[in-house]
Amino acid sequence: MLLEAQGIAKNYGGVRALKGVSFDLRAGEVHALVGENGAGKSTLIKVLTGAVEPDAGSIFLGGERILNNSPHHSRSLGLAAVYQQPAIFPHLTVAENIALVNETGGLARKVNWAARVETARELLKAIGADIDPEREAGTLSMPEQQLVEIAKALGANVRVLILDEPTASLTELETERLFTIVARLRSQGAGIIYISHRLEELARIADRITVLRDGESITTRQATETTPQQLVSLMAGRELATLLPKVTVPLGDVVLSVQGLSSVSAGVHGVDLEVRAGEILGIAGLVGAGRTQLAETLFGITPADAGKIRVKGSEVVVRNPEDAIAAGIAYVPEDRRRHGIVGDLPVRANTTLAILPQLSSRALLDQESERELATEWVTRLGIKTDGIDAPASSLSGGNQQKVAISRWLATEPKVLILDEPTQGIDVGAKAECHRIMCDMAAKGLAIVMISSELNEILGMCDRVAVMRNGHIVATVARAEATAESLLALALGHTS
């Protein structure tokens, strides 16, 4: 056994990302790792490379336990990872990028530039990449950068190579070349951990496949003994949580209607959708399918270059967030720490940030009304805080999210877009967020919810739109949606 991970557990706050996962890899093997978004694949990889310290569990390489793991340490042991987003230094040359991790010696040593370029040239040649080692790495295309990363890993005499969705941005030709490289590495005795959403390619390249779900390793099978359909059901199959209190309310008129919405720069293509009053429309899809980009286009962050947006029947032009707010569209973004709340400001200021003009007369803030309003929202949403004057950064994740939601509910929107509203918050806070959504839907709000959690989508939404590559590929009613069918649509496996 080349690499063995035993009982790896990792919690982020209240969220259990990995619940005692074991995983092994033989020399000369390609072991694929599959699972839906948030299943724990990335966390497992980060634990293996030492980027994240596990709460429990141990890792053995060649029978020896790795202690005090760190990215530097794991690399020196011959463990290298190539991520979907290449981690290159864009202003350094290709040769320098490769040398940076592979050359040994102190910072004060004399650099042999000719040898450095020559080494890079040989490594690139070994993987059949036609890249000038003296080019600035930032000028390379994404696939070329990936090849540089692989060359980098080879240079370190890699024993374990981790490829995280390497083919996601590759053309067919480049994928073929990658497979050749992988096959060669395998024949040389290296072990390869291969993460991919393209299930059909696994049969070609993988020896074994492990399915992760909700931070647990579900099964490990021989690649030859499994089909993509089986994998999809293994990835998705699980009981619906009973926490979700979705209350069905009678639907009203169409509130938001979108036709042919495109933003080429953001990667949103020809989106049509409709949301009624009281309805919760879920948007499912893999990371990178264009869900957040769609929300940002609706909200005017990346204005649309084609298509129509109608709110309650009247067409609105959304060129920036101000236009969207004026049209009654509200958007609670995904990354609440960076985009949702303003950590330095007190809770009350966060609640009123989007309605300052309404709260002011002659540009002076009505602080009395602000306090009343903030107190009201803190009570209504059950926000746990030391008071409305406490800085928002002092609240827990779930309560920060409620503050972010309160800001947008305070604008009295007609359409509320929520992007991953319960990501990274604990179970209790999650249930409360769901309750709030149901309450608001019952009051006639039209809600669009983006979520990577199929459970949440299935539990909360009246209808689900599935996105892939910037398109809505299908819209499914709640009664007809299953985790499997949604995942198959998101992956492009319609059978």
């Binding site: 303003v342 950590g343 330095d344 940030l353 540009a363 602080q367």
Partner: protein, 314 residues
Amino acid sequence: MRQRATAIAIFWAVLVAVLAFRAPAFFEFANLRDIAVVNAPALLVAIGMTLVILAGEIDVSVGSQFAVASVVAGTLAKAGVPLPLTALLTALAGACFGALNGALVSWLGVPSIVATLAAMAFCRELLRWVTQGAWVEGLPADFQWMGLSQPHGELAILLLAATIFAAFAWTLRHSQAGRAVYAVGSSRESARLAGLPVGGITLAVFILMGVLTALAGVLDSVRFSQVQSSAGAGLELKAISAVVIGGAAITGGRGTLWGTLLGASVLAVIAPALTFLGINAFWEKAIQGAIILGAIVLDRLSARRSGSGDKHAG
């Protein structure tokens, strides 16, 4: 903030104790009044700097702006323009200067440290070239001391500075715009998503910075019969120091004008206190540096203790 006020209060208490023992003459009314008058212009600049820093930017060109404003004010006064009009025109010049910085930062996205560094060098050199290094001399008597007798002039300067301070402190706390400045400095992206005009606010703080610096230039030049073209050298450091000592986060979003007032007061008394204590004035900069360093270390320590050390970073 409360902690910062405590730290500054302790500094003052020690200073007062030492001075009371070694040089009681320091506390004579005339001396304290002189210190206040001399530092009033720097306070105006520090007010503007507080706004700029709260909005998450920085302006290192205030020294040059101050010099340009002083020379403009002096030249206008010499040409016989009445004082109120001189002040108004100078403020307008300052607004243009600030608008230039602001436009570079908010429209072209030039980092403020770079934009204002360029402006600092450019304007200083331009001024040197235009004036050929000559001072503006022989200012009319009715320009000096605001055309008043000396004591009245001093009173006018102090009142003006106090009024401007109070107006800004109040507005920053009670207006929609003040709230927006904090929001933009704390999280540009959140502010943009909340529909705030981030670019406009950035532009506005730079314009206010320019106007306040220009007024500071006027207040300073009325005290003398000539204007040096090298006026305002090092002013940017003094203003930024006052803001930082006053407890504002250099990354924006946190701080108050009252803190800046405390910071400015600390910086203002160092040099005269040294003189009174008979210590070589060369130590002033070293002590200033030590105080700034102390303030920042105090910040990091308290942030670490409350376990939010990195939450506010960046």
